[in-house]
Point group: C2
Chain length 275, copies 2
């Protein structure tokens, strides 16, 4: 028997992947969690039947969430990740020698637990002494934080289920308060082909709070449309005006200093969403 | 009954789309041709069960094939399209006022016929008086052409079936001869996630013939991995050194003058394929 998993990325379109075996499946307190071994993309984490990350293409998302704000900030020391229980963003953050502490707040401890077990190349750095892993509500963590972080990264699921509060103007306002006076934040904001409104709304809401608001993209094969967006809000530093000497050598498979700037050159129909 | 079309983009991964109805299906002299109406992407042309173009996302491919070389060349007058029977590249070429004649050579007249019938927004310009539509073998057309074209665009299917000769060094050498002394050519060269060897081989072969060889990318949701590549060979003009005044206003949905250059900033794993 040949087993295929299909994710309906919209009502009428999806991706399908051959599954060698199911490694784990459970309904956690917050969402349905499946870990499967695929033939094409290695081990794959699904939450509520949506692909969250795969061993083969995870590097794109994790590098682009982390390195764009971290190379924009001149000296990021304290970094917060909201969500991101698979640990991939943490792994990338730790490549920056200026970082003294990286705090991860994921609402679902099961995501952390099974990522450590089945995605060791992604979650392996969660044990690093610089990392503080907290199982809790990221929205509440932000609400009680003030002037605390240099960079905040929101590595959430879609705005359904546990992540619904993470796409609100109130949350962005909380992030502004939780950041230091020259802080930067970035959030994944889905794709422009099927979720144009989400991007336009996030951009509008963030721009009402942060003086510098930008959108950038990356290609992720297992995410809807293959083109993912990230919304960045910054109090002081512009990601498009990073000086050459700011970049230092880190090992990457997707991010480069040229791509750092090129990722902000948007397809016209995407740029038009921001008007 | 709900009908879904599935394209296996690799042995173990694919896309699936809900089909409202099949508009036409036949085995032509060269390939299997299906025209279907999808709910998500509008009418869709399939050749040998692979998505060739859809009404919703076709603009990306057609704009990026055409405008990158046409804005690189200072005065493109005679342009050849090998393949491209759906007419989308021709539509984009005709947006450039310098173009006096655009020749299209597709081996399969049925592609042209059914594109005109079911993809009128794509194929509608094939009747323009500047366009010479020929049903014939693009490889042979190139072989007998000399010093004839300013720009040649290879809008082919995959290197299986009728297009197999269009991915050979002999073909690239023929293109060099068919171009004028300052000519430029571009070919679609698939995606770096599943077809890395194809890209590396094309780059190597083209670089042995053309003094300037470049790779650029675009996001196409219905193509494998969502990240498509184009290999460009040029005798004289570098697409990265186009002056600002060269760009003139054309109506696009994907291409912009900023994206023209940004599209050449490659993800590191793609850049590494070219070493």
């Amino acid at each position: 028997m040949s087993l295929w998993f299909t994710e309906k990325q919209t009502e009428n379109f999806g991706i399908t992947a051959k599954i060698n075996k199911t490694l784990h499946t459970e309904q956690t307190e917050f969402q349905k969690l499946d870990m499967v071994e695929t033939e094409e993309f290695g081990n794959m984490l699904l939450l509520d039947d949506m692909v969250m990350t795969t061993e083969k293409d995870e590097f794109v998302y994790h590098e682009m969430v982390a390195h764009v704000p971290l190379f924009t900030h001149p000296n990021p020391e304290h970094v917060l990740v909201v969500g991101g229980g698979d640990g991939g963003v943490i792994r990338e953050i730790l490549k920056h020698p200026s970082v003294k502490k990286a705090t991860l707040v994921d609402i679902d401890g099961k995501v952390i637990e099974y990522s450590k077990k089945y995605l060791p190349t992604i979650a392996g750095q969660l044990e690093d002494p610089r990392v503080d892993v907290q199982v809790g509500d990221g929205f509440m963590h932000i609400a009680k934080s003030e002037n605390a972080y240099d960079v905040i990264m929101v590595d959430s699921t879609e705005p359904v289920g546990p992540a619904v509060n993470l796409f609100t103007k109130g949350f962005y306002a909380g992030i502004y308060k939780a950041l230091k006076e020259d802080g930067i934040f970035v959030a994944q904001t889905d794709n422009p082909w099927f979720k144009a409104d989400l991007i336009a709304n996030a951009q509008r809401d963030v721009a009402e709070i942060f003086p510098i608001t930008r959108l950038y993209t990356a290609n992720i094969p297992t995410y809807p449309s293959g083109l993912w967006t990230f919304t960045l809000g910054s109090k002081k530093y512009d990601p498009l005006e990073v000086s050459e000497e700011r970049f230092h050598e880190i090992e990457t498979k997707y991010y480069t200093k040229e791509l750092h700037k090129a990722a902000f050159a948007l397809p016209k129909f995407v740029a038009d969403l921001l008007k």
